[in-house]
């Protein structure tokens, strides 16, 4: 126990971080990365590449109006089927929704909402949770008692229920959903991080730093937080998937991102009744998008878990 164990960072230098992140990137499995890349690309390029507006109906051709309504002119044509079905056009490859809006464009813009909400929400949750976990684990005593008891109580609250409750306090809105996700999920991090810190506290490099009279804040910042980052990253990647599902469920239950913004969960909720009419793609396509995003997040999370946890490396 006298030597500093392998894998523990005494000081985290910039070059080391860079090297480590390069290794990480080089080894990321291809399938989830590709899926994520597609979704991220769609999200980033939506304002430029989306063929139509996310909010306004697609201007119909006179032929479409004639076929659908028997009118020479109409504001929009709703429920145009996707290109593979009869009556579909390549102008709107995935068809239009009940308001004649292009489904493909809405899905691309929806990727923006899901990614932004899930990533920022999880990030905030991670920041709050990590900080509290480190404080509880390192300062101990009353800090530990208070933070951990609140964490325990928080963990017994079912997450979706808590999210619905918070949303009826905060009202609808994109940033409110972010706040809700942060408030609901921080407890997951604080629990895990505290356990980690309890072990780190006893390690020599922390002891040494304490003996050398380095301040508590500095120890937390320079020694503890860098060393719990592995755990936090694993948790983060797994939580992003859960956050996407919670965001979609909130939208589905009508308390998430307000329409007409295209959130995937909302698109599914709005087209739920279309299922009964056989227009399954309207509800299923956003569902597939959600599944793809969560699946790739989960696969990355699994991979990270194995990669960052030396005990699991060979499994």
């Amino acid at each position: 126990m006298a030597t500093i164990p392998v894998g523990a960072t005494y000081r985290t230098s910039v070059s080391r971080v860079a090297r480590r992140s390069y290794r990480l990137v080089a080894e990321i499995p291809a399938i989830p990365l590709a899926m994520l890349a597609i979704l991220a690309f769609a999200a980033v390029s939506a304002p430029v590449l989306a063929p139509h507006s996310k909010l306004d109906p697609v201007k119909p051709t006179p032929g479409q109006c004639q076929a659908k309504f028997g009118m020479a002119d109409c504001p929009y044509v709703d429920n145009v089927p996707p290109f593979w079905a009869r009556g579909g056009t390549m102008d709107t490859p995935l068809g239009t929704d009940f308001l004649g809006r292009d489904v493909l464009s809405r899905l691309m813009h929806g990727a923006r909402i899901s990614l932004v909400v899930a990533l920022t929400g999880t990030l905030f949750a991670g920041a709050i949770g990590t900080l509290l976990g480190v404080l509880a684990g390192y300062l101990g005593k009353w800090w530990d008692q208070v933070i951990m008891r609140v964490t325990d109580a928080w963990l017994t609250l079912p997450s979706l229920v808590f999210a619905i409750l918070l949303s009826s306090v905060r009202g609808p809105g994109l940033w409110n959903v972010v706040v809700i996700l942060a408030l609901v999920f921080w407890s997951r991090y604080s629990r895990a991080v505290r356990g980690e810190v309890l072990a780190l506290r006893e390690r020599d490099f922390v002891r040494l730093a304490e003996i050398n009279g380095i301040g508590k804040l500095r120890i937390i910042w320079r020694h503890l937080i860098p060393n719990v980052m592995n755990t936090v990253m694993v948790l983060f990647s797994l939580q992003v998937g859960v956050a996407v599902i919670i965001e979609a469920s909130l939208s589905f239950l009508g308390v998430g991102v307000p329409p007409p913004e295209p959130s995937w969960g909302l698109m599914m909720a709005q087209e739920r009744d279309s299922l009964m009419e056989g227009k399954w793609w309207l509800a299923v396509l956003p569902g597939i998008c959600i599944t793809m995003l969560v699946l790739s997040a989960n696969m990355l999370g699994d991979w990270l878990r194995v990669r960052l946890d030396p005990q699991l490396r060979n499994r």
């Binding site: 008891r149 306090v169 299922l275 997040a297 989960n298």
Partner: protein, 324 residues
């Protein structure tokens, strides 16, 4: 050991008290239930009367005190929206949730555990990958998406399974019964919601079985058993399985509680009259006592389970009880 149990019990009580307090404060931030129940045109007199009836006219600390006092007597108060005691409604709904929860629980175990074992025994083979994929897909699909797809395919297109609620009441010697027709006629109502709920949890079960199995298979104990020349099948069936099931069962227990108490989305989609729907109704109607009651009951179950696990672990592993 006694000290350890006492400390754990104290922690559990504090957790419960915090839970109750958080939920008490939270519901009160969501709005005024009196106005929500009122029609436009309702008189101030009528609103004041409602407010008095529901005890919302008194100071907050007083409401809190009487709420805690009632809780200690096992009284959850009166539902605002459903006008009946919360306890009665809760226990009327609980059997439905238990049915759904247990069915989903069985599905999650039947799907998750064998696949998890298979993928642990054949690490890094196709079996492993297929198992992992099933787990991950289950975890990646929102419950409402699975529910919707099931409804289209089996309910609407194929028409094999009923989609609406839990079946109807029949009368047995003049008394309404939902149990009897359920087991004879209405059990198909359970299939789709239970599957939609169970699949999600089967993913988690698969994961935990897999890593538990891997832990055990790599342990010195199993190596020793192998050295003794016990056939591999026996190693797995008798020794590894037994030892890897403890974390799996703990986890499964927690999942069961979650499935029973907060299957909100699935119950809403399938119109299943369980506790989760009660909670959702309560939330959207600002039915404070109902939300408090249901969340408290689910919290109570989870806390009691955690306490039991802690105590059992304390017995099994002395290091744990000495650590704190």
């Amino acid at each position: 050991m006694r000290r350890y149990i006492l400390v754990r019990a104290l922690y559990s009580l504090i957790t419960l008290w915090l839970l109750v307090t958080i939920i008490f404060a939270m519901v009160r931030l969501t709005g005024d239930p009196v106005l929500m129940k009122a029609e436009p045109g309702a008189d101030a007199v009528y609103l004041a009367e409602l407010r008095r009836q529901w005890g919302l006219d008194r100071a907050l600390y007083w409401q809190y005190a009487s709420f805690l006092g009632n809780l200690l007597q096992g009284n959850f108060g009166h539902s605002f929206e459903k006008s009946l005691p919360v306890r009665d409604i809760y226990f009327e709904r609980l059997p439905n949730s238990l049915k759904l929860g247990f069915a989903a629980f069985i599905i999650s175990i039947v799907l998750g555990v064998p696949l998890g074992m298979l993928s642990a025994l054949k690490v890094n083979t196709w079996w492993d990958n297929i198992g992992k994929m099933i787990a991950l897909i289950g975890l990646s699909m929102p419950g409402f998406f699975v529910g919707m797809v099931l409804i289209i395919v089996f309910g609407v297109e194929l028409g094999w399974l009923p989609v609406l609620g839990k079946g109807s009441t029949i009368f047995v010697w003049g008394a309404p019964s939902t149990w009897l027709p359920f087991w004879f006629r209405d059990w198909p109502h359970l299939i789709m919601p239970a599957f939609a709920l169970g699949w999600y949890f089967s993913g988690a079960m698969l994961r935990i079985t897999r890593s538990g199995m891997l832990d055990v298979m790599g342990s010195d104990y199993i190596k020793l058993v192998r050295l003794k020349g016990v056939p591999e099948r026996m190693v797995v069936a008798k020794h590894a399985l037994k030892n890897s099931m403890i974390p799996v069962l703990t986890f499964a227990g927690l999942n069961l509680l979650i499935m029973v108490n907060v299957a909100v989305v699935i119950e809403v989609i399938f119109n299943w009259p369980g506790v989760g729907q009660l909670l959702y109704d309560g939330l959207s109607n600002r039915d404070f006592p109902m939300v408090q009651g249901v969340v408290l009951m689910s919290g109570l179950m989870i806390v009691v389970l955690n306490f039991t696990i802690d105590v059992l672990y304390g017995y099994v592993d002395p290091r744990i009880r000495l650590a704190r």
